[in-house]
């Protein structure tokens, strides 16, 4: 099936799951992301059955935890990646993954919409920049995330403009800290 050229508004669809338990919204997210999670897991060394199991688990987790998604700090793909990565550590490496202290909830959605939009745009630019990287460099980044490299082999220089997205996230964190006072 061909995808429409314009990206669906993934954060809005996750919002519909959170607010209305919307099954159609879930189905649209599933059709886009579940095959990618499955492929991600297989590239990470899972067999087909395990990979599909993971994809199912991750998508059900999205359904259950839709209220924890913060579009001012992560795109849908990013959030889903973190769930999939944690599932992989759990299933393939059989380890716990310590998570940082929870900063609580973000500001109310209305005050936060401009931030969220800007972050989604930065994420789209990042995705685009990745497709334009030289093959060897992109391959190295992929191997890092597929778990092919040990922590001693990983070098931090990605050649991608992560600074813009980092300052965007930093702003969202500052705002969150401010609200916590």
């Amino acid at each position: 099936t061909m995808e429409p050229s314009a990206e669906p508004d993934w954060p809005a669809l996750i919002g519909r799951i959170r607010d209305h338990r919307d099954r159609d919204a879930f189905a649209r997210l599933f059709c886009h992301f579940a095959p990618r999670i499955r492929g991600f897991m297989m590239k990470s060394g899972a067999d087909a059955t395990t990979a599909e199991e993971c994809a199912q688990d991750v998508m059900v987790t999205l359904w259950r935890k839709a209220h924890l998604f913060d579009p001012a700090r992560a795109s849908a793909a990013t959030w889903i990646f973190t769930i999939a990565r944690n599932r992989r550590i759990d299933m393939l490496r059989k380890q716990r993954r310590p998570e940082p202290e929870d900063l609580g909830w973000g500001p109310e959605p209305e005050t936060d919409q401009a931030d969220a939009l800007a972050l989604q745009q930065d994420s789209a630019r990042l995705k685009d920049a990745m497709t334009k990287l030289p093959e060897a460099q992109r391959h190295l980044i992929e191997r890092t995330y597929f778990g092919d490299l040990s922590h001693r082999e990983i070098a931090a220089e990605t050649g991608l403009p992560l600074g813009t997205i980092k300052s965007r996230i930093r702003l969202a964190l500052d705002r969150l800290r401010h609200h916590m006072k």
Binding site: C31, G39, T78, P100, E101, Y145, I154
Partner: protein, 215 residues
Amino acid sequence: MKTKIKHHIEDRHLLAYSAGALPEAFSLMVATHISLCDRCRAQVEAYDALGGAVLEAVTDSSDAGLDRALAAIDAVSPEVTPRPEPAKTGVIPAPLRDYIGGDLDAVRWRPVGLGVRQAILPTSGEATARLLFIPAGAAVPDHGHRGTELTMVLQGAFSDETDSFARGDVETADEALNHMPVADISADCICLAVTDAPLRFNTLLPRLIQPFLRI
């Protein structure tokens, strides 16, 4: 609670944390540091965004079982989580409290000599995590490193040949560094230290007892 952190975790370790490639002990270090440090937290979340882009780029057109997933979500009740309270950061940040099983008073210290105490935390075997208690003014014996050692100050401060380190600061030591961390005279120093290889002590006594201490 706001501390001015001077020494951060290196980007390669933050990237490895985001990619899920760190040994558990090192993940514990990163999670503990970014609980106090928004700079490194933002860097980790930027690397997560890169992970999102990698995930998006995966092509797989197979049917991943939508009907099965729809049946599964019908069976789970929506999770009603209360709003998480903003974490109350005491001396020990939340991820580390999970491993101690409580706050500072729950730590089971073991003496390692010269007033220094340690508590090894339960993590997977590829790397070791320990809490160190260095009495004010006391020193950890002079040593080198066979792999990477990250040390983060939780309370007090210490100095060595390279610089001084206060709460939230992380020192990254590797094969090239020999050092003797000394706690500031003003307060007892408590640190989280993780290593992926045994230390190399330069004096005889620590070398003799090293196997028993799993340092």
